[in-house]
């Protein structure tokens, strides 16, 4: 098994579910709490009073007890001491100053969110996300909100798909109210919030909008106690405002992303480069079967552009692998042009590590000659290449 590096191991208030690595069809832009909260607020959903600040002096009048929360694109803030409570302005400023000096999960805290501490009477749950198997948004709600939501029994969670051409209908909200079993006035308020949440989901091109807890305050108001939002990164052409969203990626992953290369750093010592996400994963799996440990997931995609191949190798080198394992299946992509790009970068800049290459498909003989000429070890199958790479790395 290979695990990914650094803060990916950090759990905190994030919940891990498996996805394609990296997820295909866009990885989704996770908004930090302050921006998620802003999103809800501008779509008419009530949020606690508060503001985001980047220096303690920006904090002025606070009326009551507040929570000071670090804004970082990773989970585990609470455990790291990035969420603290203050009684007055002086204390809040001091805490903000402390937290602003912190680094959490490899990310410097650039801002803190200071919000009123809610007087909580009850915690509910409300979310809309994409149910990929149904191909529709799914509305979920529960009267048992809070951190234990995942262990709430199925019958206590209302869930219904929303046909995107029909929209969220009144009967669905009535059904939701009956499952939640709240008193009528509160049930209607929750229904109103759900309707606003669906409008926001569409308008913002969200993949997830989650309010947990949806707080019922002692005075009976309904307020989003916390907010999580993921925006579809394939929708950026119509949402330029989300382009600069800071993401939970390593500096090298960020660099790769900016160059349009699909890349994930892992904790092994064999740099894996292949074309296509499925083939790259299959190569990592084949490597693991021989006892080797993948250090990178680098999907070259459908390109044979020598410049892009060179960029990919430069990224790979920066991950300092002991061995590089390259697996190319040339279908539409010509093997020899990919090989040419690799040859050039290795000849001029060096690969930094021995390269084991398996290249198969269109113009494969020519490609193999080019790679051999560049001093690489060539293999005829994925398994053979994996075995050689593992051996060279001293494992297996």
């Amino acid at each position: 098994m290979w695990n990914s590096v650094g803060n990916r191991q950090d759990r905190g208030d994030f919940i891990y579910i498996p996805s394609t690595i990296p997820p295909q069809g866009g990885s989704g832009l996770k908004l930090m709490e302050a921006r998620s909260r802003e999103l809800l607020s501008r779509n008419g959903i009530e949020v606690p009073e508060g503001k985001e600040i980047s220096q303690p002096e920006d904090l002025h009048d606070i009326a009551k007890d507040v929570v000071v929360k670090a804004q970082v694109p990773v989970g585990g803030r609470g455990k790291a001491g990035g969420i603290r409570f203050a009684k007055d302005l002086v204390e809040a400023r001091a805490l903000a100053a402390d937290i602003l000096k912190m680094e959490i999960g490899g990310f410097r805290v650039r801002s803190v969110l200071v919000v009123e501490k809610l007087d909580i009477a009850r915690e509910l749950y409300l979310s809309i996300t994409v149910d990929r198997e149904a191909g529709m948004p799914i509305l979920m709600a529960s009267a048992d909100g809070g951190m234990e939501i995942e262990s709430v029994r199925d019958e206590r969670i209302f869930r219904d798909h929303i046909n995107p051409l029909v929209g969220l209908q009144a009967y669905q909200l009535k059904n939701m109210q009956s499952v939640l079993g709240l008193e009528k006035a509160l049930g209607q308020k929750v229904a109103g919030t759900a309707a606003k949440l669906y409008d926001a989901f569409k308008k913002e091109d969200a993949e997830l909008l989650e309010i947990n807890p949806l707080v019922v305050t002692a005075s009976g108001a309904l307020v989003a106690g916390d907010a999580k939002a993921i925006i579809d990164d394939d929708s950026l052409f119509r949402h330029p405002e989300y382009k600069d969203t800071e993401q939970d990626v390593t500096p090298l992953e960020k660099e790769a992303r900016e160059k349009g290369i699909s890349f994930v750093q892992l904790d092994g010592d064999i740099g894996v480069i292949a074309n296509g996400a499925g083939l790259t994963m299959a190569t990592l799996d084949a490597l693991a079967l021989t006892g080797g440990r993948g250090g990178t997931f680098l999907d070259l995609g459908g390109t044979d552009d020598p410049e892009k191949v060179k960029e990919a190798f430069r990224i790979l080198k920066k991950a300092h692998p002991k061995v590089i394992l390259m697996n190319i299946f040339g279908g539409i992509t010509r093997c020899d042009t990919v090989a040419q790009g690799v040859h050039e970068v290795v000849k001029t800049e060096g690969a930094g590590a021995p390269v084991v290459a398996r290249i198969k498909g269109w113009y494969e003989e020519k490609a193999r000659e080019i790679l051999k000429d560049a001093g690489m070890v060539t293999a005829s199958t994925m398994e053979e290449a994996a075995r050689i790479a593992t051996k060279l790395a001293g494992g297996g």
Binding site: F14, I15, P18, G25, I138, L208, D234, S235, L279, D285
Partner: protein, 295 residues
């Protein structure tokens, strides 16, 4: 026989004048597919690779004689306009739409799948290499024709290159394919494993089915349940990529509540094995497993 595309397929290429559109129109023509029309607004009256270009689907249908009217669309237009092209094709009466375009926003994909349900159209993709039926000399997609051989195995895959890898290993072992369908790599796609299994199950020229899946989503688990409940009797083989991949990070609880433990390679392999599917450890194992089973 075959599934989705065959000798009766008449293709309309949306975005035919673009680089990809032109290149793959040529490749589809060379393979023997009947490409009857292209659509690019403002380019009516021209031809691409001998194929007449029209401004709109409505124009193409009005101007072409009945015997060469398109019944299948392939979409290459850029992501921001792809949904509109798919709507236009389906509104024009096209019943099979193959969407090659990648990076289509998921909300657009969900809307066009709902419209496809309403129109009773079959959508393949988005972000798919397409569908090919080697024995029928029909290819509606971008896959490299050279790796496919006519035969009696149905292939269903979520990947691109990995599909070619698997198919190539089948072909090299002398095992040909009836049809091969790429489901597409996006979170929301049209045709799923379940529907493709039904199609291959009903196809008299398919003897066995190979599924190429990967981690993420629960399409493979759904397929496993379907194999049992629909009594799919043809042998099914599978390979799942990503067995050793680290878990992806998701924010919030909604994903976990929807998934309830499904989505991992482990969950997929377990579900498929329980449904009687033979699961290969590496892609190159598939031809051998097929040969052993088929005697």
């Amino acid at each position: 026989m075959s599934i989705i595309v065959d000798r009766q397929t008449r293709v309309m290429v949306h975005g035919i004048t673009g680089h990809q559109g032109t290149q793959h129109t040529r490749a589809m023509n060379e393979y023997g597919t009947r490409v009857v029309a292209g659509v690019t607004p403002g380019k009516a009256g021209t031809t691409v690779e001998g194929v007449p270009v029209f401004n709109s689907v409505a124009d193409a249908i009005a101007r072409l004689p009945a015997e060469s009217r398109p019944n299948t669309s392939i979409i290459f237009v850029p992501a921001p306009y792809a949904k509109d092209s798919a709507y236009e094709a389906m509104a024009g009466g096209v019943r099979t739409v193959v969407i090659i375009t990648e990076h289509i926003p998921v909300q657009d994909a969900m809307q066009l799948m709902a419209f496809a349900d309403y129109k009773k159209a079959v959508v393949v993709g988005p972000n798919t290499p397409g569908v090919i039926s080697p024995g029928e000399k029909a290819k509606v997609g971008i896959m490299p024709a050279a790796v496919f051989r006519p035969g009696r195995i149905g292939v269903i895959s979520r990947s691109g290159t990995l599909t070619y890898e698997v198919v190539n290993s089948l072909s090299e072992a002398g095992i040909g394919q009836s049809s091969c369908i790429g489901l597409g790599g996006d979170p929301v796609v049209g045709t799923s494993f379940v529907e493709a299994l039904d199609m291959f199950s009903a196809d008299r020229e398919t003897d066995a089915i190979v599924m190429v899946g990967e981690i993420g989503g629960s399409a493979e688990e759904a397929a496993a349940e379907h194999i049992l409940s629909a009594h799919i009797s043809k042998p099914v083989f599978a390979y799942i990529a990503g067995r050793t991949a680290p878990p992806g990070k998701r924010m919030g609880h909604a994903g976990a509540i929807v998934m309830r433990g499904r989505g991992t390679a482990e969950s997929k392999v377990k579900a498929l094995s329980a449904a009687g599917v033979t699961v290969a450890r590496v892609p190159s194992e598939i031809p051998r497993l097929l040969k052993e089973t088929r005697m």
